[in-house]
């Protein structure tokens, strides 16, 4: 806005005694004294001139609010770092001559696509869950924690609009992570291991274009399954003022669901667990893509997400903001 008008002090420290702002003398209220009389509002909705409820909290503003945060920067930085760490680990260690079944980790160093696949495989169960829960769970809860939420609401940003804009930005950032991770893994894997067509543990080899298509399918499906995590985190974040509680609670619930999924005695009941289809994207690694499980996963995730987001909206629209 008027940032240009206000020069930053040349020295890093404070400059006591010397007014740092040209137009503004601290402690004086000249500006107020010269302020014009209030204008008579002519808008139909009763708002101030130039106010439009549909233009409040623009996405770029929300993005700036979030992008400056350490947690955003650290998450992105870590996702860039992770493939490099993995490369280091593969370069340091000697591959074990595994007998029996070939798994993704055995093929990780075959080439860039396989490395990207392994990176996704390694992160899908927990890391990406944490990152998505962080972005979605903390976005409303941290504002409540900082007390800035009430100032947004009296700006006024409509409650539904606030949720919408926040959810879009949170999902956008989570999506960025989801694309960033395989992207960096592809690039760094290319440099470290070269480019070789992707090989799946089933023994089939995919062409480069097919590989990229499959990666896109996998990332797309991961995005859909993680939507459930985002919706859960968002709902938790709307319910609590403690960001840590929202994020931690979300991760906890996902872990519980994963543990229950391990209990084979539960039989078909496991199919309704929201995380049951987390790894259904492995079906995209066969000679042909098998959509069956992925479709089920999509339905499951979308159904849960719808319910959770509806609950979040319902709760927030009626909530008394006392934080």
């Amino acid at each position: 806005m008027n940032l240009a008008k206000i020069p930053r002090p040349r020295s890093a420290g404070r400059a006591p005694g010397r007014p740092g702002i040209n137009h503004v003398v601290p402690g004086s209220h000249d500006q107020l004294a010269h302020a014009a009389a209030p204008r008579i509002s002519g808008t139909a909705h009763g708002g101030a001139p130039g106010f439009d409820p549909r233009r409040t909290l623009p996405l770029r503003v929300e993005l700036r609010r979030q992008a400056g945060r350490r947690r955003t920067q650290f998450s992105l930085a870590f996702l860039i770092l992770l493939p490099l760490l993995l490369i280091g680990a593969f370069k340091l260690g000697t591959p074990s001559s595994g007998d029996g079944q070939v798994t993704l980790v055995d093929l990780a160093t075959v080439g860039a696509p396989n490395f990207a696949l392994f990176t996704l495989f390694a992160s899908a169960g927990f890391l990406l869950v944490v990152v998505v829960a962080l972005f979605a769970g903390d976005t409303v809860a941290s504002e409540a924690g900082w007390s800035s939420l009430r100032y947004l609401l009296v700006a006024p940003v409509g409650r539904a609009r606030l949720l919408r804009q926040k959810l879009i930005v949170a999902l956008g950032l989570a999506g960025l992570c989801l694309v960033l991770l395989p992207g960096v893994a592809l690039l760094s894997g290319w440099i470290a291991f070269g480019w070789a067509p992707a090989r799946s543990p089933t023994g089939s080899t995919l062409s480069t274009s097919e590989t990229l298509l499959r990666l896109a399918i996998i990332v797309g499906f991961l995005a859909i399954t993680l939507l459930f995590v985002a919706a859960l985190g968002f709902y938790a974040g709307v319910r609590t003022d403690a960001p840590l509680g929202a994020v931690g609670g979300t991760v906890l619930l996902v872990i519980i669901s994963n543990i229950l999924d391990e209990v084979t005695a539960l039989g078909n009941i496991r199919n309704v667990l929201p995380t049951h289809y987390t790894y259904a994207w492995l079906d995209a690694l066969g000679p042909t893509v098998q959509w069956d499980s992925m479709l089920r996963g999509t339905i499951s995730s979308l159904a849960y997400s719808t319910i959770l987001l509806a609950l979040a909206w319902r709760h927030f629209l009626r909530k008394d903001i006392v934080s």
Binding site: A48, G50, T202
Partner: protein, 924 residues
């Protein structure tokens, strides 16, 4: 706020209880449903008298009848077990059918289990006749549905030995209505003496691969035969004849032993095996047949089921062919086993219960290694389906692709005594051997190097899913005129060593009478379902040895060359079987629709709500008009009750009250953060609700500052303005910055600010855009005295521009000095309202310090307008003025020559306030 949280707790408890009750109800309901779907099944053990052995000894069979929980007569299913087994093996399946409303009959065949008699290898006079006896038995049971007198509605099913019996019984006994034989033979002789060489290098219509083998018999499958015989010979039972023959009938035993010793079948054995083969009778089968065969089966390969299918279909009988991932070499995946069970059930439902479902003769087969299990990361397969069973090769329905092979003519050696021999498969371990070979035990492609001739294709340009029996023609020259060879089609790729032999299947070839110049031999390779990936090669390997077969004892050399240079591979246009992919897609679309619908509904609802803002035209110039406002929390606590007041433009209104008086709650309701339980708030004539647009004319500072700690003060201000979406030019950011008075510190991050700095920044933020109504909740908390003074000035100046200010405070002096008007609240109720001066009234109190108290009292006492003079302490006077200004009193004192050291107003409002509060507390 504490109260609100308490209020939330009981509701949450109720929810938790409700959830727990719901879960418990589901569990109980689920259990009830589960137990109701498995009604009690009655079992009845029977001894069934059947035709006697040739020596005249009587035979009874051990059988169990499984009766469903049904009053009406039901169709029956007879379950025959595999070789070496007993009726116990079929117990689970029998219960499955009984649960689904069939009378199931499992029995131990003659020579097995607790049944009497000897093994005659499904001979028509014995085992097949026994089956007819079982049908008689079922016809006599009242629980069994009958088509006519002595003719029960009955289906037969069973694996392997039981499968062959099923076919033979259906051929002999027309009363059998449907059959589902599994992994069984068509021609037992051809199964045990494998022959993959064909007479005719060309293909004739109506003949499939392997249908016209030359030089019967083929190569003796000695490993399987030994195992097969061993299983029968080691049967425990009363009728054991000798240690060597076990429970085999003497003629069967004798012929087997003669064959095993020589490696060539005796003619008697061939006759016996032919009599035990469905091949001779399949054309007479009228019972709709579900033929299930295993892809991992080196004993009875897929071609056996193919021969059955063609023979039965030729008679016009409905046939459905299903291949699954198992077989005699592997149990197959558990998913496949479940699938077979339900396929069999629906086959019987269709043809025994006549449930009205459409006839389904589509072809199903299993492709392995297509995906990775979600559960344990292991490689799994999938099921594919084609509209109809095409046959293996050589029929018009089979599409074939030619793949060019190359390789020079090669000389290979068959060692004397047949050793060393290549190990490709061991009976029952076909799949396991694939794992062994990957560790190098079985060597690379084929066996010893000089025993193999290899002809390889170029890397395949595209992946090929081979479904059926590939065929190739090879020119064979032998040093002896006889040739025994084993043909294999490997899947070779650079990244997989050793190469993969699909299901470890081998095509044995035995030809004799070759001319010295050799002869072309057409070979039908093993029937497989295998996807050769793009970039992989097909490698045809012809070996002279194979451990599983009887090898010629004499040494030979062969010269092997490609005749055509191509291998013809059959393919089938098939689609993956999923449990209703279409349904899934539909559900998927529905889920997306519901999600977007839900989002849209919320958006629209918000829009509508925001349009519903009610306007009171008479109040458009009134900054705040509150009527009957009340807020009760969930637990009944009333934070605010019956509050009504108005604020006029230009006022600086002080909201005064002790802590907990409801000031903050009122202000939160004023800006739409809390929904009132009753009453209404109008700001400039617009009714307040959450996010009402009129709030854009209100600036608020409520219960402390709220900033993003990671941004600078200036960024916080600019972003906070940007969040309103209003034009930058309207922000009046300079005025705000001036008020904040942070200087260059505005560029530092807010987390480094002191409490006072944050406080000032927050008030500045509230002033952004110079709102027409400024609402400040305890704005001077945490400020030092100069800052407080500055704040007071700012507020007065602000009001002077014609705007309205509402300040809440628990500090009386604060309100007295800053505000023009004042509201006093206590316990959520309004105690008093009006201009500050009016509230204080004429009665104002003054504290005066003078050098001579007595003189001062004397001077003041006669003065009109002084109600009372107190002298509480030395040097001090307290005057209660009534109608005169303090200056008059001070002037009188000074005029009398008394030195006035200090004059201070006493906390008049405090007295008023305390009086009001006390009045409010004592119910009068």
């Amino acid at each position: 706020m504490r109260n609100w949280r308490i209020a939330g707790r009981p509701r949450r408890k109720v929810l938790l209880w409700a959830a727990a009750v719901a879960v418990a109800a589901c569990a109980v309901g689920g259990y009830a449903v589960a137990s109701s779907t498995s009604p009690p099944i009655r079992t009845e053990v029977l001894r069934v008298a059947v035709p006697p052995e040739p020596d005249g000894s009587s035979v009874t069979l051990d059988a169990t009848l499984y009766l469903p929980d049904s009053k009406k007569p039901a169709p029956a299913v007879v379950l025959a077990h595999g070789f070496g087994g007993s009726k116990q093996d079929e117990d689970a399946d029998a219960r499955y059918f009984a649960r689904h409303g069939y009378v199931a009959l499992a029995y131990s065949a003659r020579g097995f289990g607790r049944s009497g008699g000897l093994i005659h290898l499904d001979a028509s006079a014995f085992e097949v006749a026994d089956a007819s006896k079982l049908v008689d038995l079922l016809a006599a049971r009242p629980e069994v549905l009958r088509d006519g007198p002595g003719d029960p509605r009955v289906g037969f099913t069973g694996p392997s030995y039981g499968g062959a019996l099923t076919l033979l019984a259906a051929g002999h006994d027309p009363r059998i209505d449907a059959i589902a034989p599994q992994i069984t033979w068509n021609d037992l002789g051809r199964s045990l003496f494998g022959q993959s060489a064909q007479t005719d290098a060309g293909t004739r219509p109506g003949t499939a691969a392997g249908s016209m083998p030359i030089g019967t018999p083929g190569v003796f499958k000695k490993a399987w035969a030994g195992l097969f015989f061993g299983a029968g010979a080691t049967q425990e039972g009363s009728a054991q004849i000798s240690l060597a023959c076990g429970r085999f009938a003497p003629d069967v035993c004798r012929q087997y032993q003669a064959t095993a010793a020589s490696g060539a079948p005796t003619p008697e054995l061939l006759d016996l095996l032919a009599a035990s083969s469905p091949a001779q009778i399949a054309g007479r089968i009228k019972a709709p047949s579900l033929l299930i065969q295993g892809e991992a089966d080196s004993l009875f390969p897929l071609s056996q089921a193919d021969a059955n299918a063609r023979a039965i279909a030729a008679a016009g009988t409905p046939v459905k062919t299903v291949w699954y991932s198992g077989g005699h070499d592997s149990p197959g995946s558990s998913a496949d086993q479940d699938r077979l069970r339900s396929l069999t059930l629906s086959w019987f439902d269709r043809y025994l219960k006549h449930d009205g479902s459409r006839p389904d003769t589509s072809f199903q087969f299993a492709e392995s290694d297509t995906g990775i299990s979600l559960q344990d990361g292991s490689v799994k397969g999938s099921t594919l389906t084609a509209p109809a069973y095409p046959g293996l090769a050589g029929t018009p329905a089979v599409k074939t692709t030619s793949v060019t092979l190359s390789g020079e003519p090669q000389d290979v050696v068959a060692p004397a005594g047949g050793f060393p021999a290549a190990i490709t498969s061991l009976p029952g371990l076909g799949g396991a051997l694939a794992q062994l070979s990957s560790t190098g035990l079985a060597g690379s492609v084929g066996g010893a190097a000089n025993q193999d001739a290899t002809f390889s294709s170029a890397p395949l340009p595209a992946s090929v899913l081979v479904v059926g029996s590939p065929s190739v023609t090879v020119h064979v020259t032998s040093s002896t005129g006889n040739a025994t060879l084993f043909a294999k089609l490997y899947d070779a790729s650079a990244d997989r060593n050793p190469a993969v032999l699909p299901e470890q299947l081998v095509a044995p070839i035995q030809v004799s009478g070759l001319p010295p110049g050799g002869s072309d031999v057409r070979i039908s390779l093993p029937t497989i379902v295998h996807r050769f990936a793009a970039g992989h090669r097909m490698a045809l390997v012809l070996s002279t040895t194979d451990q599983a077969y009887q090898l010629p004892p004499d040494p030979r050399t062969y010269r092997l060359a490609l005749t055509e240079g191509t291998v013809s591979v059959p393919t089938v246009a098939a689609s993956t079987v999923t449990d209703d992919t279409l349904l899934l897609w539909t559900a998927c679309a529905a889920a997306v629709t519901v999600l977007s619908g839900a989002v849209g509904w919320f958006v629209l609802r918000r829009r509508r709500d925001s349009r519903e803002t009610t306007v009171a035209p008479e109040l458009v110039d009134v900054p705040v008009a509150i009527t009957g406002l009340g807020k009760a929390y969930g637990d009944g606590f009333r934070a605010v009750a019956d509050l009504s007041f108005r604020i006029e433009p230009g006022q600086v209104l002080g909201l005064l009250g002790p802590n907990g008086a409801g000031k903050t709650t009122t202000l939160r309701m004023l800006v739409g953060l809390i929904r009132p339980s009753e009453g209404s708030i109008h700001v400039f004539g617009h009714r307040i609700s959450a996010g009402a647009p009129v709030l854009s004319r209100v600036g608020a500072f409520i219960e402390g500052p709220g900033f993003l700690p990671h941004l600078s003060g200036l960024e916080n201000l600019t972003l906070s303005w940007a969040a309103t979406g209003r034009p930058e030019a309207d922000a009046d950011i300079d005025a705000a910055l001036e008020l904040a008075g942070l200087g260059a510190d505005v560029h530092r991050k807010v987390r480094t600010y002191s409490q006072g700095m944050r406080q000032r920044l927050a008030v500045a933020q509230a002033m952004l855009g110079l709102p027409d109504l400024l609402v400040l909740d305890e704005p001077t908390n945490g400020l030092d005295p100069p800052q407080i003074r500055e704040m007071r000035q700012a507020l007065r100046r602000y009001a002077a521009t014609g705007r309205t200010v509402v300040v809440s405070s628990h500090l009386l002096a604060e309100v007295e000095q800053t505000c023009t008007h004042c509201l006093v609240m206590h316990r959520g109720r309004l105690l008093a309202a009006g201009p500050v001066a009016e509230l204080i009234g004429a009665a104002s109190s003054l504290s005066v310090e003078v050098d001579d108290i007595d003189a001062a009292v004397r001077v003041l006492t006669p003065l009109a307008g002084i109600r009372q003079i107190d002298t509480p302490q030395a040097g001090g006077l307290i005057l209660e003025l009534d109608g005169i200004r303090p200056g008059v009193a001070v002037g009188a004192l000074v005029g009398a020559g008394i030195s006035v050291d200090r004059v201070a107003p006493r906390h008049q409002l405090e007295d008023v306030f305390l009086t009001l509060v006390n009045e409010g507390e004592t119910p009068s």
